[in-house]
Amino acid sequence: MGKIASVIGLLVFFILVVGKPFYVIDEREQAIILQFGKPVRVQTEPGLKAKVPFIQTVTFFPKTLLEWDGAPGQIPTGDKTFIEMDTFARWRIVDPLQYFKTVRDEIAARERLGAIVEAVTNDFITSNTLIEVVRSSNRLMKAEDLVAEGMLEQVTQLSKVKLGREQMTRGILEQVREKMSPFGIEVVDFRIKRINYVEDVRKKVYERMIAERKQISQQFRSEGMGEARRIEGEQQKELRRIKSEAYRTVEEIKGKADAEATRIYAEAFNRDPEFYSFVNTLDIYKKSLDEKTSIIMSTDSEFFKYLKDYTN
């Protein structure tokens, strides 16, 4: 009894441990059942599954979205600027059987994807200008300070994007997706992670940026000086206006007063001009003749006529 039981137990143990009739598919996985190395069944549902022990084996594949990070490479753009590109894609295995038949494992799949992405991306980049890769819309950029000669125009030129990054990545994605579908792979997303100038170009760009900023600085200073001069001119003008207006007013007032005075005098003195002369002349004598004055008077004068003779 005990012997038989232990034999059965041992057999069961052997089948369970070595033959593995049961296997578990994780929520993140899918699997292919192979019979003597030949795929017979695809299992995409997670859970506890059974298979024929010993002759069937299971190969697992991820079901989740997978990432692919492209190594940075140097590509010349359509306008002959060398840039460093770093891209990434996200993909998933949609047909495990096809995947298993064509690429077998992830390392090979990545290599395949990398080669295709690189080729397609190169095509797109080399046939487009840099600005098409950088910008994704025609949004007009604010550049109030770039009013310096030619610079604003340059920026406006940069706003005229025909394709743009978004369109371009979509185009790349479409082509890559098409080329990857025979491998049981769906490429879900493709994006350009980084674009940078290569070292040499970067130095030149820095120089250009510096020159541009210097130009802007100079422009600001000139603008400041110009505006200051304008205000100074305004000041001079205002000053002259104020002064001349005041002068005019003053002279007008004085003139009017003089005229009025003249009228008053004339009105009064006209009643007897001779008497006016007489009175005023006497007044002038009083004011102008003093101790410094020497006078020689004739005894003929009205004043001295009594000195000679008191009779009339």
């Binding site: 994780d26 494992d105 950029m141 940078n196 003053v250 007032i253 001295f304």
Partner: protein
Amino acid sequence: MAWDNENRENPWRRKEAAPDPEEVLRRLKGLLGGSGISLGIVALVIALVAGLYSSFYIIEPGEVGVIQRFGRFVTMVENGPHFKIPFGVDRVTKVKREQVLEEEFGLASSATSMRGQFLPAGEDLSETLMLTGDLNVAIVPWVVQYTRSDPYKYLFKVRNPRETLRYLSEAIMRRVVGDRSINEVITERRAIAIEAKRELQKALDEAETGIHVVNLEMRKTTVPLPVQPSFNEVNQSLQEKEKMIYQAREAYNKVIPEARGEAERSVRDAEGYALERVNQARGDANRFSALLEEYTKARDVTRRRLYLEAIGEVIPNLGTKYILDPEQRGLLPLLDLGQKKGQ
């Protein structure tokens, strides 16, 4: 296929589940060589206790337990004590759903974790070097704070959600910056953060990462080190410009009101003059009129009186007086008039 098997097999599960209970019983029997029934009960109790103990687990507040039964997702449990089927049948993965995690871009801590080896020493981090829409180069560092708001998606939909978040962040930030001028990148960080956050959330949702972006914060955006002095110069020159204009305005505001006052003063002065002039004229005229009135009444005598009064006033004040007879004209040259004056 090595990778797949490695990932799939849980070594802990194998160890716990594999030993056959009969095997254990047999071994125990052999060891003690006695009453099988009582030993079987002991073994059963031990197994029961062990099973009970390993089936008990606690989910902390803010955590969610994701339950998989034979690998298949069953349910999610909220915080509190729970039981599961032991021996590797049920597997619990705890996810801190409310914990805010942070990913930094272009700050010292992340430089080594990602692609630090590509960076030449002393140069700016290539992670943050970006081309702007006007083909300039800017340095844009930022931080993304996120929670794993959907643990199911976070665990099962994407193999490497954190990596995906980083890649998407970089791609989106560059896209947003690529559509702006260098000036906008430096001055309009808020707008960039808002747009980038919106785009990032959209991309993360599309990718089913189960990640919720709590906050996307822009750090100080600058330009590469070699270019910085020229940018500072622009700021400086802008200030100089404003200063020059300000100074000119200041001078204007100082001079013009003063001139206005001065003009006002001279006008008032002229008005004073006018009043004075007219009043004087009136006075003089009235005086003359009054005199004339009396004069007309006694012309001759008044005339004489006026004349004599004047003479009487003038003569005493005069200096040297010579009184000559009209016949004595020859005397005139003898008088040294000039000398007298000189004294």
